[in-house]
């Protein structure tokens, strides 16, 4: 029982982080029809900002849970602000061109960000495990489980709820959904489409930054983490449906559970199983489980 519970929580932890990454990716695609390959690097950027900030605040010795509260918004907003600069300057001139140009540009941005992080923070991974340890453990139905991991799960749930409310309940959300459905018509109504785009892109990047920031105490900030995360985020959106927030949530849960089970029983096939599921979804429902065809 205790193993089962711990594994369930692990699956949810993984799903929460994946939802943050894939949800942002899907939001950007849903509104702007851009596949943002730089999304993985933005996630890594969030991780590096968080790890660097923790290093500055706590130094080598110990850490306090309060640092998390202080630095999470800083890292997330820093990445969101990066997005707010990238969209109008780099992406906007390419909207009228074929999609290949956007892929090329965002892939170039991925490489540039990756090198920039190597240049700024060096090739050695930054860790922040003292913060993870500072949260202590939780005793649940006979099982012992890291309290920090539960915090991440709750943060994922909270973000999903807030994002849902933002998109489906707010005044801006109405305009966001309208712009995603019909850009030309939205412009004809006098909606500031450029303003909607930059805010949607920044929000998607902010989610990636938040994901990177929360993962740091668990696994640190490492070069290459962005590409790994991007690949898994694509598996999530392929399963759930690119452009659908519900799809990102369902996809993240499926990938989280499957990966946890795979690691437990046949660890060498972990990624193969995920790709297999993605391939089956692509063949049977090309738009994803909850995507619009």
């Amino acid at each position: 029982m205790d193993i089962f519970l711990a594994q369930l929580l692990n699956a949810l932890l993984y799903a929460a982080v994946l939802f943050l990454i894939a949800g942002g990716l899907s939001l950007i695609f849903g509104v702007m029809r851009i596949v943002n390959l730089a999304h993985g690097s933005l996630y890594a950027l969030g991780a590096y900002v968080m790890a660097w900030g923790l290093g500055r605040l706590a130094g080598e010795s110990g850490s306090e849970p309060v640092y998390l509260i202080a630095l999470l918004p800083v890292a997330a907003v820093a990445v969101g602000a990066t997005g707010a600069v990238v969209e109008p300057i780099l992406l906007r001139p390419l909207y009228a061109r074929a999609e290949e140009y956007q892929l090329l540009l965002t892939f170039g941005l991925l490489l540039i960000l990756e090198d920039a992080m190597r240049y700024i923070w060096g090739p050695t991974p930054l860790t922040a495990s003292p913060l993870w340890a500072a949260f202590g453990t939780l005793h649940l139905m006979g099982a012992t489980y890291p309290r920090y991991n539960v915090v991440v799960i709750l943060l994922g749930v909270l973000t999903a709820v807030l994002l849902w409310a933002f998109v489906f309940k707010t005044r801006f959300g109405v305009m966001l959904r309208a712009t995603s459905q019909n850009r030309r018509m939205a412009a004809a109504l006098g909606i500031n489409v450029g303003g909607v785009y930059v805010q949607a892109f920044a929000l998607g990047c902010l989610m990636a930054g938040l994901a990177g920031a929360v993962i740091v105490p668990i696994q640190g900030a490492v070069l290459g983490m962005g590409v790994d995360a991007l690949v898994l985020a694509f598996v999530v959106v392929v399963i759930g449906g690119l452009g659908s927030l519900d799809g990102a949530l369902v996809g993240a849960l499926i990938v989280g559970v499957v990966r946890t089970v795979a690691i437990q029983y046949f660890p060498e096939l972990e990624l193969a199983v995920l790709y297999l599921i993605a391939a089956v979804v692509l063949i049977t429902r090309p738009a994803g489980l909850l995507g619009r065809a």
Binding site: F172, G173, V174, A188, N192
Partner: protein, 248 residues
């Protein structure tokens, strides 16, 4: 003073002179029908007036100010709204949200973006009131995709009206619907225009509709204004009947 005054408008697409030296005016509270065969330049003229296209030459003044260089958004703020020939609704949003969107847009994107749309009772009440004027209030919760064609046409006009224009440009608001529905749509449009003291320019092919509802009729032919006048004057104009009967 005319509400809208366009002078010497020209717009070409390659070799085609879609609008070729058109003078056009709209008086306050006037309902004008813009008629003419396909390719006469009616939709191009509407696109020039609403800001979707920029003229190659000519000026447009609205409410005493030169708006020739203004964007669509700036013209909406100045008081010009339009609907499209092909109904352009947000199909996945419900009827209420389609109208509410226009109200939010009118307010600007940045005004209270995080406010819950449902809590914005002013916008909701205003949207419901507008739906009432167009007989759509019972459908407020239906996705726009689930409406009948006539209702879609009405909603399209309601969305333009929700921008609170002084001048509303309607491109074929009754195309693609049956005769009985045409009457319903035109009655709704005419009553809103009259009761709210709006001016309207309606592109329309059905001459029965045109003669029934218009204060003035402007006939276009091959990119230019061929004739204009009251319904009686137009009825008596031989050039008009020649074009309408295909002899133009």
């Amino acid at each position: 003073m005319s509400l809208l005054l366009a002078q010497g408008l020209r717009k070409s697409f390659g070799e085609t002179r879609a609008v070729n030296g058109v003078d056009f005016r709209v008086e306050p509270e006037e309902l004008i029908s813009l008629v003419g065969s396909n390719g006469a330049g009616k939709t191009t003229l509407v696109n020039l007036l609403s800001g979707l296209l920029r003229p190659d030459a000519g000026q447009i003044a609205f409410d005493g100010a030169d708006i020739t260089a203004l964007s669509v958004g700036a013209r909406i703020r100045a008081g010009i709204a339009r609907s499209f020939q092909l109904v352009n609704l947000f199909d996945q949003l419900n009827v209420l949200d389609n109208v509410r969107l226009a109200i939010f847009s009118r307010d600007g994107v940045t005004r209270q973006p995080l406010r819950l749309a449902e809590r914005d009772t002013r916008a909701r009440n205003e949207a419901m009131e507008i739906l009432g004027e167009f007989g759509l209030e019972s459908k407020w919760d239906t996705p726009a995709a689930g409406l009948a064609q006539g209702e879609r046409k009405l909603l399209d006009v309601a969305v333009a009206y929700a921008l609170r224009p002084k001048l509303i440009l309607l491109d074929e608001p009754t195309s693609g619907v049956g005769t009985r529905e045409k009457g319903v749509i035109m009655e709704a449009i005419a009553s809103v225009v009259r009761e709210r003291f709006l001016a309207a320019v309606i592109v329309e092919h059905d001459m029965d509709v045109v003669f029934t509802y218009s204060d003035r009729i402007v006939m276009m032919h091959q990119g230019a204004v061929l004739a204009e006048g009251t319904p009686d004057q137009i009825r008596a104009d031989e050039r008009v009947s020649a074009v309408l009967l295909g002899k133009g």
